[in-house]
Each structure stands twice: as structure tokens, then as C-alpha cells.
Amino acid sequence: MPQINLLQAVNSALDTAMAHDPRVICLGQDIGQFGGVFRATSKLQEKYGKQRCFNTPITEQGIVGFSIGLAAQGSIAVAEIQFADYIFPAFDQIVNEAAKFRYRSGDQFNCGGLTIRTPYGGGIAGGLYHSQSPEAYFCHTPGLKVVIPSTAYQAKGLLLSAIRDPDPVIFFEPKAIYRAEVGEVPDDDYEIPLGVAEVVTEGADITLVGWGAQMHQLHRAAKMALQDGISCEVIDLRTLLPWDLETVAASVNKTGRLIISHEAPRTGGFAGEISAAVQEQCFLSLESPIMRVAGMDTPFPLVFEKEYLPDYLKVYEAIKQSVNF
């Protein structure tokens, strides 16, 4: 199997989806001839033509609105938002329209063919507007699915599932590891089911939950902890909405301890939901408070990005704190 990076895996998923189904259409800013500012759509216009892969004007609300209409008509629309930081002009179309389309019509109409891809997260010296992790906003929105891969293999399999899923999906791509994250990825078509977390490392003493680029911090922290004799169970959530509470709760019932980590600001972040839900399910198993290692409650800064971000050292310290509670 070829070794490719996460970005190439995204490109391969799009290519596979377009090759297998003529209804798949890709649209977004600069995704045509240029192949997108990150080149995720590289060569797709050349292969499938301008009708099926095209540049849009700079209007995120338009891109998503247009894609909803496309999907409602029967196409499979894969829209790119250039940076997750720029998804907010489309917030109404996503939250009030896409998420509620099937429900409000009594299933007469739906826009399940819609997938919105967007690079997210920090670590690239992008400052306020090229670094945000807005996943929690969408996780509070019934009707949407929210998916985030952390490896090249996941990226292709999850994106293919997202594109073919009968519900609208927001697919966040961890851009910090677009190129750094390399792995074996089949050329063929394959899907990874949505809504199912992956227990990446089994462990006995504490559960670590995360997604996207943050998984690498968790793995590194787990390795450090292992030196101290602490065995971490590391879970990659992969789908945030609907999320796999069962897998996480089973793990916490076993380990008695839980740390959740994300880059987004702590207050109102999705770790809060996970913490609250696990606490409800696993109250009697908990041996120490569920902890959250998250971004600080500020806009995303530039010079202090490193200090701001929840890295493996912060996770490692939290592990020790939890175990020594």
C-alpha cells in the first residue's frame, strides 16, 4: 500500500468519490485549476471537468446555500471552506438550514448529500484567523454530523463515509498535520463508519480522549506517562456528533479516570459535553475529577501559540495530577 500524507488522502477520497459517482460535485474558493490553497482538490478539475469541480465567488454563505440546493436536488455536494475560521458567514445556512432541512419538511426533502470540508486548528503560526477549532459550535446543532480524522488512513475512509452519508456532515481537517501525518492508505474505495470511536491504545489507569491533531499530543503524553508506569487508554473520537459515549464510558468504567483534550477554548468546548455525559454515566467509577486540557479562553494568539495550545506536556501534567488525585 502506498504511503501518503493526510492531505493526499483527502485528495484521494475526493477522487474516488467523484470517479465512482457522477453526482459528486466539488466547489469552493480556489479549488478549481489551482487545486485549493492547500491543494486538497488538486487535479480534480482536470479530471472531472469544470462543471463538477469549480471555483466559487468568495461567499461562504453562498457556497453552503448553493450546496444545500444542489444536495436537495439530488447531487452530492462537497463544499470546501478555505479555512474553518471563515465558516461563520455560512453559519445560518449550516445551522438553520442544512441541519433542519429534513426535519422541517417531514422528510419530504433533505440535503443529506452535503459535506462541508474545511481545514482547522492551530500550529501553523496563523494567529486569530487561520487557527480556530470551531467544532463545538456545530456539535450543539442537532441534524449535523461532525467528523474529524487524525491520520491519513482515517481521512480517506471517513471522508468517503461522510460524502455518502445520508445526513449533512461537517468534516474538519487538521491542517497542522496535513503533510506531517503519513501512513499507508489503500488506493481503493473504503469507508470507516461514522459515530464510532477508535480505541487506539489500550490501557488500564486513565483514559485520554481527543480528535484531530490533538491525538498526537495525547499519544506522546501517554508515552511519557508510561515511563512513570501509568498506562493510558487513548481514544480517538473521530466522529464528534453523534459521538460514541458507549466506548468512552466503557473505558472510563475500566480506568476510573478521564482527560479530554482539544485546541478550542475551554469554556463551552466539546470537552465539557464529554465530561458531563461521562460523569452522568460513570459517576461511581470515577476516582478523580474528569479533566480538560484545552485552549485558553482567548482568541487564538500568534506569538504565544505554543503557550496557548494544549500540548503533550500539559496533557502529561494533567495525567499525573489525575492519577495522584
Partner: protein, 399 residues
């Protein structure tokens, strides 16, 4: 970068007055053909279908307004004064064209064949409502009739209509999309997004803007400083026309032509219908606090239904007697439907959690089970009355 623009030595600002878009009018106030106007090709059956639809909607609106006052509906919203804008336009399209409307276009839905019972089912949120009782009254939709379910957020359907039309084009359907919205909705960012994208990606969509002078209490003079909506189309590179929205023939002729143009050139077209919202914004509104009765009276004189009726009478296609009969029949049909459909039960409680996703995920099924357990403890407290009139709305005081 634009090659089209000529060079000039003269420093002069282009003003709004440099572009004026005339208003197409075919029938005069008395329903007579204007001197130089061409009567559009229209057969008797179509003409009568149009007229009957306008008449039907007028009766429906009157009856539902009354029903709302009686507390039988929580909310209603009339199309009064704008029937020609809506029926004249929809009549220019084919039944396989998709309609994406705002909320004041019930006449288009009727034209497609929505029955009185179907109106009542939605208005009463009963078990036969296609929308499963989830949305407020007037949020109709019909998959069978190619009429997209209405959503309250304004203008969201505009970029969606562009995308829908693009999909139709790609799928090789000989069909277009017709997208309705109001003068107020045209201020939303989605208007700009939708029109620009429709133009640049060559979408066969016809935008019908109902310029009825008001957005709730806000007159168009406080909505925009330009000359209505049609001139904006020029900025997007869209062929645009303005018509007298109370002149059924003008609206119809423009619509037939707009559809042809949209499909032939794979491009959007704008029709701005100039009319007036004769009634309140909705049953929650009272216009007397923001406009005077004289203004309303002027427009009441321009009743589009009456104008068409005169033309039909002149043509010998219609009689006063037929007219009377028709209205009586509609009144009965509608009141019968109201009576029968309001006896129907609410949708099943399970509809609370279906259709959020194609398949209800585990957490929703659990929440539903919890709800059932809870209701079992307080059976008298929950669940709608079989008679839906229990759903009275504080919205009667608002929008």
C-alpha cells in the same frame, strides 16, 4: 480588467438615474389591453385556471383570517393584493420546475394542485401534515408538487435555488427553478450570494421578487435607497424585468419569457413584480400603526383579481354568475375542509425524534425512551389534545 468599459476623460459619477427600468404593463386599470401592448398567447383554459386560482386564494385567505380570529388556527398570513404576482408567474412555468418560495406564495402551491385538505393539514398541524406538525402554520411544502418546504429564515432559499437549478442543469433535466422572495428579504446577504452565484455559474433559475412596499412595518424607503430590486440584477449580469404586479398579463408574459430565457441561455433571470401588501403582515400584525388607510385604499382600487375579471368578461370567457358560483363553491370547500381536518389527531409523538437524521441515532432514541417514561408518570399533563386548537400561540402578538 473589464474590457467592456470605455475610457472617458470626464470625471462624472454614474447615478441611479442613469439606469431606469420601466414597468411592463399590458392591461390598463380597467382590464383593457393598453394601446401598443401585445396580448400574450394564452388559451382560455389557462386563463381560467389562473383566475380561479386567484379567486380561490382570496377566499382561502379571508376564511383562514377569520378562523385565526376564532382561535381555530394559531397563525396565518395572507397574499391579498399580490395574487397576480404569484399566480401570473407560476403559470408561466411547468409543473416539473422546482418552486422555492418565501411564505406569501400559497397561490403558487394551489396552482400546482394543493388541495384544501392539504392546506388545512398543515395549518392545523394534524397527522396528515406533510411537515409532521413541526413548523408553524403557512410553512407548506410538497414533494409531489415540486414545492420546496418553506423555512422562516428569510432569503436562505435564494442561494439554494441557484444550487438546485445548477443540479437540474447538470442532471440534464429540461427544468428550471423559480425562486420567490420579498423586497425585505432582498436585503439579506444571502440575496447577494445567491444572485451572484446563479449568474457566474450559469444556473437556470428565475427569481421573482415581490416588491410589495413593506417588510412588516418597514417601508421600502427604509429598506433601500435604490430604485427597487431589478436594477441590482444588472450589476450581477442578470437579465431583469420589472412588471406591474397587479397586471396578470404582464406578469404572465414576463414569466413565460423568463423561463424560456433561463433554460435557453442557462442563466438566471429576475422579475420584479410591483404590487402592494394589502393586508397586515400576518395575523400578529396591525398595520394601522405604521401606514395610513388612504394608501391602502389607493391600492385596494387596483385589485388584480378584479382587473383580470374585467378582461375575462370582455373576452366573453367568464360571467358574473360563474364568478359568484365559484366563490360560493370555494367558500364551502374550504370551510368543509377546515371542519373535517381539524377533527384529525396530531401526528404521533414518535415524530418528535424522526428525521433529525435519516436514522435516529442512539442518543435520540434514549432521550425518547426517557420522555415516554416521564410522560407515563404524568399522562394528563402532556400530549396534544386531539383537537389542535389547543396550540394557541403568543405569536398572535408578534410576527
Amino acid at each position: 480588467m473589464t474590457a467592456k468599459s470605455k475610457q472617458t476623460d470626464v470625471l462624472r459619477f454614474t447615478e441611479t438615474t442613469d439606469l431606469t427600468i420601466p414597468t411592463l404593463r399590458i392591461l390598463d386599470a380597467d382590464g383593457k389591453l393598453r394601446k401598443n401592448a401585445h396580448e400574450p398567447v394564452i388559451d382560455k383554459a389557462t386563463a381560467l385556471k389562473i383566475y380561479e386560482n386567484m379567486a380561490y386564494i382570496r377566499v382561502l385567505d379571508e376564511r383562514m383570517l377569520a378562523a385565526q380570529r376564532q382561535g381555530r388556527l394559531s397563525f396565518y398570513l395572507t397574499c391579498t393584493g399580490e395574487e397576480a404576482s404569484v399566480v401570473g408567474s407560476i403559470a408561466g412555468f411547468k409543473s416539473h420546475d422546482m418552486v422555492m418560495s418565501q411564505y406569501r406564495e400559497q397561490a403558487a402551491l394551489r396552482y400546482r394542485g394543493f388541495s384544501s385538505e392539504q392546506f388545512m393539514n398543515q395549518l392545523l398541524s394534524n397527522d396528515l401534515d406533510f411537515g409532521k406538525g413541526r413548523q408553524m402554520p403557512i410553512h407548506y411544502g410538497s414533494h409531489e408538487l415540486n414545492y420546496m418546504t418553506i423555512s422562516s429564515p428569510l432569503a436562505t432559499q435564494i442561494p439554494q435555488a441557484a444550487g438546485y437549478a445548477y443540479g437540474q442543469k447538470l442532471a440534464g433535466k429540461d427544468a428550471c427553478t423559480i425562486c420567490y422572495f420579498g423586497d425585505g428579504a432582498a436585503s439579506e446577504g444571502d440575496f447577494h450570494a445567491g444572485l451572484n452565484m446563479a449568474a457566474v455559474s450559469n444556473c437556470p433559475v428565475v427569481f421573482v421578487v415581490r416588491n410589495n412596499g413593506y417588510a412588516i412595518s418597514t417601508p421600502t424607503s427604509e429598506q433601500f435607497a435604490g430604485d427597487g430590486i431589478a436594477p441590482r440584477g444588472i450589476g450581477y449580469g442578470i437579465s431583469s424585468i420589472r412588471v406591474d404586479g397587479n397586471d396578470i398579463l404582464a406578469v404572465y408574459a414576463a414569466s413565460v419569457e423568463a423561463r424560456r430565457l433561463a433554460l435557453q441561455t442557462n442563466a438566471p433571470v429576475i422579475i420584479e413584480t410591483m404590487s402592494y401588501r394589502l393586508g397586515a403582515h400576518s395575523t400578529s400584525d396591525d398595520p394601522s400603526s405604521y401606514r395610513n388607510a388612504d394608501e391602502e385604499e389607493i391600492w385596494r382600487q387596483k385589485d388584480p383579481i378584479l382587473r383580470m375579471k374585467k378582461w375575462l368578461l370582455d373576452k366573453g370567457w367568464w360571467s358574473d354568475q360563474q364568478d359568484h358560483q365559484l366563490k360560493t363553491q370555494y367558500k364551502k370547500e374550504i370551510l368543509d375542509a377546515l371542519k373535517s381536518q381539524e377533527k384529525r389527531p396530531s401526528p404521533p409523538l414518535s415524530d418528535l425524534i424522526t428525521d433529525v437524521y435519516k436514522t435516529p441515532p442512539l442518543h435520540l432514541r434514549q432521550q425518547y425512551t426517557e420522555l415516554l417514561n416521564h410522560i407515563a408518570k404524568y399522562p394528563d399533563h402532556y400530549l396534544p389534545n386531539p383537537n389542535n386548537s389547543g396550540h394557541q400561540s403568543a405569536l398572535t402578538q408578534v410576527n
